[in-house]
Structures are given as structure tokens and as C-alpha cells.
């Protein structure tokens, strides 16, 4: 895997870099560059216009979109030779005299930027359209942004923002005490729409050395290294070639007792894309050096390509100390499944198969490190600064306090930025060389080397009896965990707990097992295996409803877990179980849609056309936070001597909006307006550990901590002012006013003693959701609370061509309390887009789909209209009653779509994605179907 830009850069040296003259954002520019150097590189590296992002460097994502003579082009595909004498506009040019354009304001007001990495490109694509058509139609918007991918938003809010651009007005920040529940704009939003937000690749020091990872082209091979020192000497500018030997402790992994993944492979590689060497030197030289030049002698070995091979008797071992290639098994047992099956009125048997799915965040992994005395400082795009700190310390054999992680803005994570990527490599190189060292993964590298969603094979049997009651569930889920453990144990544990779905099932047996193969490591991906399991339980619900002759929604409603019910792990739900309410909210639309669909299909049959519509439904539940494990979070709110109010927030905002939500919560708990808050986010030297941004836990766990911290500071202030609990606060510069009825006290903050951060008072809050360990039968309290949701999907299938278009999705989610309804909708819409991808198009084939044109994620045109209904069945433990929503959005979507396809066609597909050829094959296999 030689770096992609080797050829083009090579040329730069040869052609003699004559100056290319052009106009950028209205000003003349002249840059010495080869005519083949690409515009994206010149904008970012030579002109410092890092608002133009690079997501793929191949024309496949649109993150680099700029206007060339007023028309949108990919800066990554535009050679400088074509730019000569022409006018280029970038996102930085949209803001005039510091004022955001109407389009930018509309993006803010509609929540169109989540992680924001696609936002500059989106803005430029939309600008091209809006200059030609001030009030475009929805179809025109879809066309204009059709070449710009977003992985976070599901496009809905982007489309709304573009449509509203002509009329957009600013949004006021919510007043005191009304932040929770407000559609507040993102506290970090302006930087995202202005293009000034700094992501992993955006603020690399000019003197940084570059690091490039040499990766295995083979899935399984032994290798020997020749004379690397000779290579180094032959290439001036190449400072070091790092190998396994240079890594102080060459193993990392999510679990404290499973550090099985080497930073650099040691004589053996276990998947294509595994890191073998790290070249460190000038950017030119490390990017130019081709892999062929390196003396690596490979001995290929036969790879284990899937779980069947991995489980076969006598199979070779992927890791020597893992008999049977088994990473881990988990399970839940309660009641008597066999008896219940024997007495059942109806039994559904389902077999589900899902592939590897790639996170496909638009920002590839990137970061840089420097050594500061005996400490390391790492600036990196990540979901988990504290775990990164501890892992880097472990790899480097340093103390955790010797490592500082400073998270950059994160251009999407979805679970994929929970594992280490560039961190240990740049740390090691910077430590050894005493110079800053940077690394940016290329798109193919990001896709080949980093984790994926676990491919699953699920066998399920569900039984129901008279009265349409579910009686038993028997689920066996097998996962391909790839070459290294990563989050495999989490998936193997979480799935058995969720396997029966959000239903009351008295007798249950579930098993989850993860096996090693020579595939890329499977890790965390929005839902940790639950989306795969939901395909099985929801197919079973449809089948049982059909056998029993009852409506699919009503069957689910009858069996929905409610307050007072016992889950399969024996946990009694005491509060906040809003599935029935979700289904009730969907019911009228469901009935309407059933009628519309029937009418459409009757008409289609009469006219002998080949389109059929169908409607499907999917339900889910999802335990918030880590499974049966402590996962505390601590937040602090500081009141400065100078009157600044700071939230020290260790929870990383990866686009989902936690920065904004934490401030909304803390502001109301404290009783000051959110607009007065400043934010310190993620920096492990300045914040407290808030745990990982995963498992939908930040709103619930860190949100609670923020609420406690705000309340704590309020208590301290009231005590200082000797005021009652209802006193009103006001902060004006360094004067804090406390008004308690008639009594008004002014506190001069500047007169108080401050801590080293400049704070005179610091409120602190810690929350750790109460859980208990699971026993041998999987009995216990794995999660403190659960999110519930139901979605319906309406599809149109072309029977002859096998294509499926999702027309509409209605999503009802019990979120406890929507702290920020706009952001909650954004999470749900974005989740739906990923669920749609899972159902219809996403399939990662190791070695064949390592880019964003062979690996497909939904474009704007693929998305249906989405209607979101928020159910607020408050969770007393959560902040203002809130639970989590990060992952739930995606879980019911694929089941609903698959159900809708079945409704439309009469064939139930349980292998995803449902690509046209699979649907056609299923239709042909259907008895009685015409050819």
C-alpha cells in the first residue's frame, strides 16, 4: 500500500515549480506548484485555507468542494494547471466582513452541521445552486448536493437549511432556565459553518515530521525484514524506520486484560492492512517512498476468511493462545425455552446474515504528537481521550500522567475512533526523535486498517401462544471479530442481553460468540451488534404476527416491555419504558399507510406495472452505557475571577452535539444563560475523565454529571451569598448578582481567591449509573436505563429490476427527555441514514472496497422523508429525565425497511444489504412468482 500521491508529488520536483496565478476568494494568489499538484493540497498546505477538507482525495466524497469560476468542483481532482488565471472560492470566502452568509446561518439554525467535516463542501455545493436559483426546489437541492457525502445528518437538515437559505434569520440563545428543551444552536457551530474548526489534519505544526505506515498487502503472512538502515541512508530526509522492536510494549486493546493488537506487526500479519513499519521523515520523502523499495520478505499463509472456517475442527489458529479461534462467549438464560416452544401456537425461525460495515466517517484518522520534556502531547481526532491516554502510556511504558491527549474536532466517529490509530505511532516517533510528528491516514488506509461492524450470523426461534403473547426466544449469534479482539467482547455480551428485542419474553436462551479470522478487526459501531440482532427479532415478530393473523404493530404493542415488566436478565423496569407510547404515536399513521399502500398496489396490479409498495415496522431497545460495568463521568463548572464561566468537559463531541447539551444542562442547573459559558473540551490535562463517547452514554451519564456540577456550583454561590434556593443569578463581567426576593447581593469575583485555572468557585459532579454484574445465566442489572423506539418505513420496490426506494420513515423514540430536540432529531435522522445503508447498500469486502466509490454510503437522493416523534417518558436517574439517543436511531431502520420489502413483495430477506441482485434472486425463488 504505497501512498496515493507518490506519483503526483514526484512530478512536482521534475517540472520545476513555476508560479501558478489565480484568484482565491477575490484576492490574487501565486503559488509555486507543479501544474499537476492538486488544488486541495495548495489551498490547505500553501495558502492555509484548511476549511477545504480532504475526505477521500479521489472525487468520491465532495468534502473538498470549491467553486471554480462559480461552479462546484472537487479540489482534490483539480490539477493546478487548470486553475491558472481562474477564480476559486472556498468556504472561507462565504463569510463577508465577519458576517455569516444567509446559507451559513441557515445551516446553524437548522442543525445542518453535526461533526461539520462535510459542511464546507456542502456549503459550496449549495452555493453553486443558490447563485443560479435563489429559491430552489427540493429536487434541485438533491441534485446539487448529490456529490457531497455526509455520514452524520441523514441530509434532512442540510436540505432544509438550503431550502430556507433565502429567508433564514438568526436564532437567539435560550434565556435563563430555559436551555433544557430548547432547539439551541450548537455552541461550536459557528466554527463549523465558517470553516475554521480544526480537525485532526488541520493544525499540524509546520516543522512536523511526517509518518507513513507501511501496511500488509496480505491477509495472513510471515515476514522478515532486510537491511532497513541501508534504505534509510539511501533516502535523505528519511529519519527513522520504526519496527515492532522499537515499541516498548507492543500490544494494545480495549480490554485491560486483552492487549492483543500490535502497534507494528512482529514477523506475522493477520489481516490485509495491518501496520508493519512506520516511515518517519520529511513529508516529501515518506510519501514518495514506494513500498516496493522496502526489504520485506513475505511468506504467504492461507487466511481464515470467515467464521465457518474459524470454527471448523482443526482450524489453524489466528492467535496461538486462542483455542478454537474463540474470543469470547456470552449468554442469557431464563425460564424453560424447550417447554415453551413445545406448547407454542406459532413459531418463527429466522436466519440472518450481515456483512462487514465500514464507519465511513468523512474525516480519516489524523493527528500529531510532540515530546515536552518527559511528557508526550498528542493532538488527535478521537472519541476517547482518556482511554487514548492510558493506552499510549501503556504502549510507551510511561505513566498516564506523562501523556496528554488534546482532542481536535472530530469529523465523525460512530465507534470507529474508539480504538487507537495514529496515536501510538506518532507518540513513539515524537518521543524518539524529539520533534513533532504527524500522520494522516489516506482513505484506503482508513478503510483497510481500522475497525468495522461485526459481520453476524444469527439463528433465532421465537414462539408465541394464544393471546398473542410471546413465550420464548432462542437466539444464537456468531460474530466475525477479525484478527484482534478490539470490542468483540462487548458485542458478544451486549447482543445476548438485547436478543429478545424490547419485548416481554418469559423464557429465553441467547448466546453470542465472537471468533477470530484473518479479517480486519471488528470493533465498535453504533449499536455494538444490536442492529444485527434487531434484524432477527423483528423478522420474527412479523412472522409471528402473520401466523397468528394479527397486525404487526398491534402484536408488538401487546408484547412491548412496560414499566413493571421483567427483562430476560431478570431486571425489573421501574421507569421510562416508552415503547408502547412510541407504537401508539405511530398507530394512526401506520393505519393510513396500510390503506395507501393497499390502494397503490391494487392500482399497480390493475395497470400491470412493476412497482409495489410496502410498509414495515421495527422496534428496538438499547441499554445506555457500558454493560454491567462501572462507567463514571465527572464534570466541572468553574466560575472565574474575571467572570468567565467554564464547563470543563471531558466528553468528546464527535458531532452528536454533547458540547451543546452539557452546557444546556449545566446552565439550567446553575441558573445562568448558556450563552455565558465557555468550553474546555476533552483535553486530559484540563478536564476530568468523562469516559468514552460510546454506548449512547454521554447525555445520560455525563449529562447527569454536568447537572450535578452546575447544581454544586449553584449551591456554593448561594451559600456564599447566604441566599435561598430560589435566588436568581446574574453574571455581568466580574460581578455576580444574587437576587433572593428583595435581597440583592453583588459579589465582586475579582476580590476572591482563585485556583490555578483562575476559578474562584468550582462545581463538581460525578455520576456512575448503577448496574450489577451478570451471573452465569446472564442474570443481573446490565444497564441503569434503556432507550426504546419504533420506526415505520414505506418503500417502493421495482419487482422487475430489484431496486428499492425508501419513501418515508416515521421514527418514534422514547428519549426520556429531549434536552435539545433539534439535535435529537439530527441523531435519529443520521442513524436512519446508516440503517438504510445497512439494509440496502453497505457491504465491506476486505481488499475490494477500500474507497468511497466501491463502498457505498447513502447520498442525499437515497434518503426518504423522515418524520420524528419524540416520546418523553422521563428517566429519573438522567439529567432532566434524559436517556441516550446516539445509537438507537439506527437500530430499528433496517428491520423496518426489510419488513416493508416483505410487505411489498411477499419475500423476506434476512441477508443484507438487499442489493438489486439479491432481491431479484429472492423474488425468483418465491413460489408462484412469474419469471
Amino acid at each position: 500500500m504505497t501512498p496515493p500521491d507518490a506519483g503526483a508529488r514526484q512530478n512536482a520536483a521534475i517540472d520545476g515549480d513555476a508560479a501558478v496565478r489565480f484568484i482565491v476568494n477575490g484576492r490574487p494568489a501565486a503559488v509555486a506548484a507543479s501544474p499537476l499538484t492538486r488544488l486541495a493540497q495548495v489551498l490547505r498546505d500553501d495558502l492555509g485555507l484548511t476549511g477545504t477538507k480532504i475526505g477521500c482525495d479521489a472525487g468520491d466524497c465532495g468534502a473538498c468542494t470549491v467553486l471554480l469560476d462559480g461552479r462546484q468542483v472537487c479540489a482534490c481532482l483539480t490539477p493546478m494547471g487548470q486553475v491558472e488565471g481562474r477564480s476559486v472560492e472556498t468556504v472561507e470566502g462565504l463569510r463577508q466582513d465577519g458576517t455569516l452568509s444567509k446559507l451559513q446561518q441557515a445551516f446553524l439554525a437548522h442543525g445542518a452541521a453535526q461533526c461539520g467535516i462535510c459542511t464546507p463542501g456542502m456549503l459550496m455545493s449549495a452555493s453553486d445552486l443558490l447563485r443560479r436559483t435563489a429559491r430552489p426546489s427540493r429536487a434541485e437541492v438533491l441534485d446539487a448536493i448529490g456529490g457531497t457525502l455526509c455520514r452524520c445528518t441523514g441530509y434532512q437538515k442540510i436540505i432544509d437549511a438550503v431550502l430556507a437559505a433565502a429567508t433564514s434569520a438568526g436564532v437567539d440563545s435560550p434565556p435563563v432556565g430555559q436551555a433544557v428543551g430548547a432547539r439551541a444552536i450548537r455552541v461550536d457551530g459557528i466554527a463549523k459553518v465558517a470553516g475554521t474548526e480544526s480537525y485532526g489534519a488541520d493544525a499540524i505544526p509546520h516543522d512536523a515530521l511526517w509518518l507513513r505506515v507501511v501496511r500488509s498487502p496480505h491477509a495472513h503472512a510471515r515476514f522478515a525484514l532486510g537491511d532497513l538502515e541501508a534504505v534509510r541512508r539511501a533516502h535523505p530526509g528519511l529519519e527513522q524506520i520504526l519496527t515492532a522492536r522499537d515499541v516498548p510494549f507492543n500490544g494494545f486493546g480495549i480490554y485491560p486484560d486483552i492487549k492483543d493488537q500490535p502497534v507494528l506487526a512482529d514477523g506475522i500479519v493477520r489481516y490485509r492492512g495491518e501496520a508493519v513499519l512506520a516511515l518517519v521523515g520529511t513529508r516529501e520523502v515518506v510519501m514518495r517512498l514506494a513500498d516496493e523499495v522496502l526489504p520485506i520478505v513475505w511468506t504467504m499463509l492461507p487466511p481464515i476468511t470467515g467464521v465457518d472456517e474459524a470454527r471448523a475442527p482443526g482450524a489453524a489458529l489466528v492467535q496461538d493462545d486462542r483455542p478454537g479461534n474463540l474470543l469470547m462467549e456470552g449468554g442469557v438464560r431464563c425460564g424453560d425455552v424447550e417447554a415453551a416452544l413445545a406448547n407454542a401456537e406459532a413459531v418463527a425461525e429466522i436466519a440472518v446474515e450481515t456483512p462487514f460495515v465500514e464507519h465511513a466517517y468523512i474525516e480519516p484518522e489524523a493527528g500529531w504528537a510532540r515530546r515536552v520534556g518527559d511528557r508526550l502531547e498528542i493532538h488527535v481526532t478521537t472519541q476517547t481521550p482518556y482511554m487514548d491516554r492510558d493506552e499510549v502510556a501503556s504502549v510507551m511504558r510511561l505513566k498516564p500522567q506523562q501523556v496528554r491527549i488534546v482532542p481536535t474536532a472530530c469529523g465523525g466517529g460512530f465507534g470507529g475512533k474508539l480504538d487507537l490509530s495514529v496515536q501510538p505511532l506518532v507518540a513513539l516517533a515524537a518521543w524518539r526523535l524529539g520533534r513533532p510528528v504527524a500522520c494522516i491516514y489516506t482513505r484506503p488506509e482508513s478503510m483497510a486498517a481500522t475497525t468495522k461492524r461485526h459481520p453476524a450470523r444469527i439463528q433465532a426461534r421465537f414462539a408465541a401462544t394464544v393471546g398473542e403473547r410471546l413465550t420464548a426466544c432462542d437466539v444464537d449469534a456468531v460474530f466475525d471479530t477479525g484478527a484482534y479482539a478490539s470490542w468483540g467482547p462487548t458485542v458478544a455480551n451486549r447482543v445476548p442481553v438485547h436478543a429478545m428485542g424490547p419485548y416481554r419474553v418469559p423464557n429465553m436462551r441467547s448466546r453470542g460468540a465472537a471468533y477470530f479470522t484473518h479479517n480486519p478487526p471488528s470493533g465498535a459501531f453504533r449499536g455494538f451488534g444490536v442492529p444485527q440482532a434487531a434484524i432477527a427479532h423483528e423478522a420474527a415478530m412479523d412472522a409471528l404476527a402473520e401466523q397468528l393473523g394479527v397486525d404487526r404493530l398491534e402484536f408488538r404493542h401487546r408484547n412491548a416491555l412496560r414499566v413493571g415488566d421483567r427483562t430476560a436478565t431478570g431486571q425489573v423496569l421501574h421507569h421510562s419504558a416508552g415503547l408502547a407510547a412510541c407504537l401508539e404515536a405511530l398507530r394512526p399513521r401506520w393505519r393510513d399507510s396500510l390503506r395507501h399502500v393497499a390502494a397503490f398496489n391494487a392500482q399497480a396490479r390493475k395497470a400491470a406495472t412493476h412497482r409495489r409498495r410496502g410498509i414495515g415496522i421495527g422496534c428496538m431497545w438499547y441499554g445506555i452505557g457500558n454493560t454491567s460495568m462501572s462507567n463514571p463521568s465527572t464534570m466541572r463548572v468553574g466560575l472565574g475571577r474575571d467572570g468567565t464561566l467554564t464547563l470543563y468537559n471531558g466528553a468528546v463531541d464527535i458531532g452528536q452535539g454533547s458540547n451543546t447539551i452539557m452546557i444546556q444542562i449545566a446552565a439550567d442547573a446553575l441558573g445562568l444563560p448558556m450563552a455565558q459559558f465557555r468550553l474546555v473540551a476533552g483535553d486530559t490535562d484540563r478536564t476530568a475523565d468523562a469516559g468514552k463517547t460510546s454506548a449512547s452514554r454521554q447525555t445520560f451519564v455525563s449529562g447527569k454529571a454536568a447537572e450535578l456540577a452546575g447544581a454544586d456550583l449553584r449551591r456554593q454561590i448561594l451559600r456564599l451569598a447566604n441566599a435561598g434556593t430560589n435566588a436568581a443569578l446574574a453574571l455581568d463581567a466580574a460581578v455576580l448578582t444574587v437576587s433572593d426576593g428583595e435581597t440583592v447581593r453583588r459579589i465582586d469575583l475579582a476580590a476572591l481567591a482563585a485556583d490555578p485555572d483562575g476559578n474562584v468557585l468550582v462545581g463538581k459532579g460525578t455520576f456512575d449509573p448503577p448496574t450489577t454484574p451478570l451471573d452465569a445465566d446472564g442474570q443481573g442489572v446490565p444497564y441503569a436505563t434503556y432507550a426504546f423506539a419504533a420506526q415505520t418505513a414505506e418503500v417502493e420496490v421495482d419487482l422487475e429490476l430489484g431496486t428499492t426506494k425508501v419513501l418515508r420513515i416515521v421514527a418514534a423514540h422514547d428519549v426520556g427527555r429531549a434536552i435539545n430536540p433539534m439535535q435529537v432529531e439530527g441523531q435519529i435522522e443520521g442513524g436512519i441514514a446508516q440503517g438504510l445503508g445497512l439494509a440496502l447498500m453497505e457491504e465491506y469486502l476486505p481488499g475490494r472496497t477500500e474507497n468511497l466509490h466501491d463502498y457505498l454510503i447513502p447520498t442525499a437522493g437515497d434518503m426518504p422523508l423522515i418524520e420524528t416523534i419524540l416520546i418523553e417518558d422521563g428517566e429519573p436517574l438522567g439529567p432532566s429525565g434524559a436517556k441516550g439517543v446516539g445509537e438507537p436511531g439506527l437500530v430499528p431502520t433496517a428491520p423496518a425497511i426489510l419488513g416493508a420489502i416483505a410487505h411489498a413483495t411477499g419475500v423476506r430477506l434476512t441477508r443484507v444489504p438487499v442489493l438489486p441482485h439479491r432481491l431479484r434472486a429472492a423474488l425468483q425463488a418465491k413460489p408462484g412468482d412469474r419469471p
Binding site: T2, P4, D5, A6, G7, A8, Q10, N11, D15, S34, P35, L36, R38, A58, G59, G62, T65, L68, R71, Q72, V73, C74, L77, P79, G81, Q82, S125, D128, L142, D143, A144, G146, T148, P217, A290, H610, E800, L801, G802, T803, K805, L840, M841, L845, G847, R848, T849, E850, H853, D854, L856, P858, T859, A860, G861, D862, P916, H917, R920, A921
Partner: protein, 332 residues
């Protein structure tokens, strides 16, 4: 190491003198136009020419429509051609094929000439990590025949290569019996587009009849009785920004409910843009009755050979033909 020299000649004659040749991986010199494909191929080391000759500013980019038909300068962009009023009204299949291609960004930059000569999307061809690819390195074998070949061709294949030609535009153009004007050091010649791309045979690395030094100067589309009632149907795995799994370009001359003449070509299934004359002949004189259309479309499958993952295309392409004709036939 693959270093190359970039030439930016002042006029076309100078450009032709470099004897560059597109669509041949072993050609020492090659052209670059819009660069949307070429930059990628260079970056990924798929193409390693010694010399790259820029055509920027050297070729005609005009779009002309007249009683004879349409003339598209090789430098015209996909975006400009797609929305040109004469194209939209008189040759809708071209406009539809283009609007269903790539992304708005790419269409703003990519040229007609480059589109016809873009290289296959076979993932093994585009990933030098796979040693075996006869198209990239003659004689090295083919990774796709026994590999992941869902994307690959079922007609026009050989035992040496089954890569599909990815151009949507070319499919529409062969249906309209378009031709290309080639300009070389020795002068100008005209080649019907159907004869322009070569079958892989045992030389899959030679993709067109272009001689060293030759360029496409223009595309000509004759006026015809069928062009106005034409349609491009593209079946793909997502709504936009994706190559065809299977596509069909059809053009009809209707006499009331009867087809007087039909032109049909397929994309995503052929190693070159694939016209199906037998289907056309079977359609002529017939009605739009679905059974009739299906019988005619079945002739497209003659000689088709699946390789496992792409077997489904043989049936799907017939259905695509039927659907495209139904759609075009229903048009006023």
C-alpha cells in the same frame, strides 16, 4: 521509479507530436484532459507514463446542433452537454445518461473525450496491490474471473479480461450511432463509436483503436428519427454518484403504437459499450406489448457468460431493455 514529465504544448499539433496514446497502460505517453480519471490513476500508480501531455485549452469545446445532428467538441464538459437545450430536447438519452453519471462536481470538470476513454472500475485494475491484471500488466493474469466479479461484464468478455466499460455516455452514444472524429499527426479520420473501443480478446490492455498521437477531437451524433424519443435507464446500488450495475439506452421511432425502428445499447454488462442489433431488428415492426418486448430483449443474452457473482446481470439487462422501451414508448 515512475517519474514523468508533464508537457503543456501550445497547440494541438505540438501535442500530437508526443505520440501519446490513451487507454493503453503500456503507452509511454498519455494525455490528460479534465483529469478526473487520470489524476486518480496516477495517484494510485495504475498509470505510470513517462510523459503526460495536457490537452487543456487545445481542443474544441463547442456544442453545435444543426439539421445534420449534433457535434460535441471533445473538450465540452459533461455538465454543459447535459443541459444544452438541443441535447435535452432532441437527444434526451444523452442528457439523461450524463445527469445520471458521477457527481455535479465531476461533471463540471470532466470532458467528452475523457469520458469515452475513462478506464474500467474493475477494483483489481485500480489496486496495484493485486499483481494479476492483464489490462494493467499484460500477461499477469486476471484477478476478477475467479474473484469478486459482481461489477464485471457478461458480454464481450474473454478469458483474459472481463472488465466492464464504465461510461454511461458511450452507451447512449452508440445507441444513437454516434461517431468520433480523431485527429492525428497524419490528419483526421472518422470512426463510428461502435468500432472505437476494442474487445479485450487477448490484448485487454489496448482499449481503443487510437493510434499513438491520436486524440478525439469531437463526437458527432447524426440526426435520426429515433433520437427524440430516447431514454436512458440506469440500475445502480444507490440513487446518485454511482456507476451502473446495468443500464439501457433506447431510442425509438414510433408509428402510432408500432415501433418503426429501435436502437438499443447496454451499459454495465459489456467490455465495451454494447449495442444489440438483434434486439433492434426483433423490435422493428412490433408493438409495445410486454411479451413482445421480452422476447426481443431475450436476444441480448445471446453469448452472454456470467462468472458467478455477475450472473444476475444477464437477466437484469433484458428487464432493463424492456423497461427502457416502455418508458420511451410512453413518451409523447
Amino acid at each position: 521509479m515512475h517519474t514523468f514529465i508533464l508537457e503543456r504544448p501550445r497547440d494541438l499539433a505540438a501535442a500530437l507530436a508526443f505520440h501519446a496514446q490513451a487507454g493503453r497502460n503500456d503507452a509511454p505517453a498519455e494525455y490528460i484532459a479534465g483529469g478526473t480519471d487520470m489524476v486518480q490513476l496516477l495517484q494510485e500508480h495504475v498509470r505510470r507514463p513517462e510523459r503526460l501531455v495536457s490537452l487543456a485549452g487545445l481542443l474544441d469545446g463547442h456544442i453545435e446542433a444543426g439539421p445534420q445532428g449534433l457535434r460535441l467538441g471533445a473538450a465540452a464538459t459533461m455538465a454543459d452537454v447535459a443541459v444544452h437545450p438541443a441535447v435535452v430536447e432532441q437527444f434526451p438519452v444523452i442528457s439523461e445518461a450524463l445527469l445520471n453519471s458521477a457527481s455535479p462536481q465531476v461533471r463540471n470538470q470532466a470532458t467528452m473525450g475523457g469520458n469515452l476513454l475513462q478506464r474500467t472500475r474493475c477494483p483489481y485494475f485500480r489496486d496495484v496491490g493485486y499483481a494479476a491484471c492483464n489490462k494493467r500488466s499484460p500477461g499477469s493474469g486476471c484477478s476478477a474471473i475467479d474473484g469478486e466479479n459482481r461489477w464485471h461484464a457478461v458480454v464481450g468478455t474473454s478469458d483474459d479480461c472481463i472488465a466492464a466499460n464504465p461510461s454511461d455516455l458511450a452507451v447512449a452514444l452508440v445507441a444513437l450511432e454516434a461517431g468520433v472524429e480523431l485527429r492525428g499527426a497524419g490528419g483526421q479520420r472518422f470512426v463510428p463509436l461502435i468500432d472505437f473501443h476494442r474487445l479485450p480478446g487477448n490484448t485487454p490492455h489496448i482499449e481503443s483503436v487510437l493510434e499513438p498521437g491520436e486524440v478525439i477531437a469531437a463526437i458527432t451524433v447524426p440526426a435520426s428519427s429515433t433520437a427524440r424519443r430516447s431514454h436512458y435507464l440506469k440500475v445502480r446500488d444507490r440513487a446518485s454518484f454511482e456507476f451502473a450495475v446495468v443500464s439501457a439506452a433506447v431510442a425509438l421511432d414510433m408509428d402510432g403504437g408500432r415501433i418503426r425502428a429501435a436502437r438499443v445499447a447496454l451499459g454495465g454488462v459489456g467490455t465495451k459499450p454494447w449495442r444489440v442489433p438483434k434486439v433492434e431488428a426483433a423490435l422493428a415492426g412490433g408493438s409495445l406489448d410486454p411479451a413482445v418486448l421480452r422476447r426481443a430483449a431475450a436476444l441480448a443474452a445471446e453469448g452472454a457468460q456470467g462468472r458467478g457473482h455477475n450472473d444476475f446481470k444477464i437477466e437484469l439487462m433484458q428487464r432493463a431493455i424492456v423497461r427502457a422501451i416502455e418508458t420511451a414508448g410512453a413518451r409523447a
